[in-house]
Amino acid sequence: MAIYNKHSLFIKVAMCLPLLFFGLASQSFASAVGLPQSTIKYGIATQVGYYSVKDPEGTTNQAFLVQPFNFIVTDWLPNGTKYWVEAYYSSLAFDAATDSVGQEVQHVGSKLGLLYNFSANRFWHPWAGVGVDLSYSQYSKRHLVNEYGFLAKRLQDRNNANVALLVNVAAEWLASSRWQSGLKAEYRMPIGQNLQSMTMSVYFLFR
């Protein structure tokens, strides 16, 4: 977990800052009757998906990953929109091949998104959103193997600050006046040489 040693302060700040900022920013609601004491919602998401890396040496194989804990903060914006902040950390390993770089990736970042609500019908009010993913990744143990599976080439580790674009759709259900559950499908399109992914997540939000 070298990434924690080198960048532990950065990680902590990266994960906590959005929560702290948006948590403080939403305390003034509730003067209107019926408006909940706080409209800001905190949540946790479990995400599964396929990942790959656009590596300088070529695209990697796909890797399946379960991310059990992503932390979410979301609140309303005007015109039926809401922002979405999600902090995550993941650790992946990609198998090497002759044309695919094997590597381990430590990946930490925040997704900032904007979701818009559509009222499809009385029972179905999906969300569609776009956003950016700001992350920091450490790609280590990068290597290539030969046709027999033996190490062919060792490549230098690299660290990157990454930017990616996000496109997602989501549906939510109210479990109670305070709890909400949701399902989100998301595509992460990297800008530059970093991770791309197609993920599904189940999340629970608490007000």
């Binding site: 003034s28 609601f29 509730a30 003067s31 209107a32 009757v33 019926g34 408006l35 909940p36 004491q37 409209t39 309303w76 005007p78 015109n79 039926g80 809401k82 609500n117 009222s119 009385r122 029972f123 179905w124 009010h125 969300w127 939510e172 259900w173 109210l174 109670s176 006046s177 305070r178 909400q180």
Partner: protein, 591 residues
Amino acid sequence: MNKPKTISSKHSFSSYHYQNDYYLSGPHKRAWAHLNFAIKQGNGILVLSGQSGCGKSTLVQSFALKLRENNQRHVFFSSAANFNELPDRVDQRLVVIDDAEFLSTKQLEILNACIESANEDLQYLQFLLVGSEKLEQIIADIKHSNFRNKVVFSYQLGLMNPAETMKYAQLQLSTKGWQVNSEVAKELLRDLYDCSSGNAELINKYLDQLQAANELYNVQHIALNRNSLPESLNQDDLKSNIATNSMSDTLIDDPNRINSVPWFRSKKIKVVGLGYLASVLIAIFVFHSTTFFAQKTTDNKELVVNNQLLETSTVLPVSSNTSKLMVGKDIIDIANVDRQVSEQSIVAATVSVQQPLPKPTGITRIKNKPVVHNNTTKSVSNIVKNTHNVKKEVLEVSEQKQDLATKTVTNLDRLFNAPEENSFTVNKTEEFDPNALTHTQEVELQLVTTNSRLPTELEKIFRQEFSPELDKIKLNRLVADFEVAYEFGDLKKIDNLFLETIKSNKIEGKKALKDEYKKLFNITQSRNIRIYDLFWRKEGNAVLGKGAFKVAIFERGSAQKSTFTGNIDLKVIESNQSFMFSELFYNYGNL
């Protein structure tokens, strides 16, 4: 559905608007059943008429709630004053128009056109016109026969009968925690029918007055002290009328009544309840006994008349309608006694006379007597001082100072039978110094010495006189406007309902609060608020309203609704001849 239910009023007997659970009397049950039938008839106009105060609006609001809960109809409330167009083009609409007798011809034409349009679009649209007895006549007189053909239902809501009146009052009292467990109290409730004719609003009014006068703490006491009842209740012949009434005692043990209260359904609860009642009665008995004996020892229970020391146990009131006491074998007029007895003896006499004298007399004949400094007197002084404050406030805002002051005196005279020469007249506000009103101090003294219940009576009369009649129609309309604006997310209308300086839970100022409502309307795709159990009272030039609310919101992005309930405090001020909210505080009861 037709089962009688208890009233969930939290603050006042007079419960405007809407009640989730509410008592259905016979007429109400029938109206409910007819409405149920009529609502299934598809398009058309439903007419519900009845005497003012018979419970039409409450019935309709409860009925509408049921429809909403069962998703049978989208119910919209309006009134003749603001009905100009249909609120929304959704199917399955029921538009309730209150005070429909005030609908103009143009409005009726709109209504007619709406129905025809809905028929063409194959949409369900019904109008429920609610109004006074005139409404039926107005509809019958409409020249446009096409309109009359659209009336698919018409029902005139009657008043409650004596049995229902008593049941209703009992339920009202029990929901407030009052126990009606004595025969005299039950008799009092029976009297309610004679003075209210089964009109729910009047019953509520009387119960409110009793509550406002703090009389309800002991219902038995009310029955004993008839003079503390509202004027219309104070009729001696009512008793005989009621005694001949067939409903009488059957009501007390009416099994339906017991079944209607869920707490009494299980035997165990019944036993616990009876045990509790018994213990309360014992506690009351013990309390009265100890008070009696304690006072007997401290005050020596002596009455001095003409320098003779008399045992107070021999003092009895000759009758409840005179100011004469029987002391031993002699009958003494209290007015005469007052000139001679000492301060202590008056107190003793008060203690000894267990049945309060109904009308104190000779108030002004005890001039220059010192004020008795006991607890009762202090409380009386406070009341009188408070009353002066009220008077001051009224005078400061009114130009008719002289009239008000005279009115005050008239009331004092009416209460105490004070001779005119001893009345005081106040011409200027500055003269309202409690210390300067020697006459009032005398009044205090006599109040204590003759009837310990009179301070409440005094307070009640002052409350009535110095709280100008609230324009409840306007107030309720204001609340209804707020509900409608809330439901339709109408920020412009919200803007018109709030004063610039409005205060709310955490913020002040109309702009800030409007922003909050803007947020609310933004995050919800639909919403509904009902403010109910409102109890209005006048305070200075403002009107304060206390009540409860229930909010249902559909947050954007989810098809499920969130419901919040809580208490709401309103402050309303008249501005530019219309009422506006100057304060709106609320707290959630449950989340």
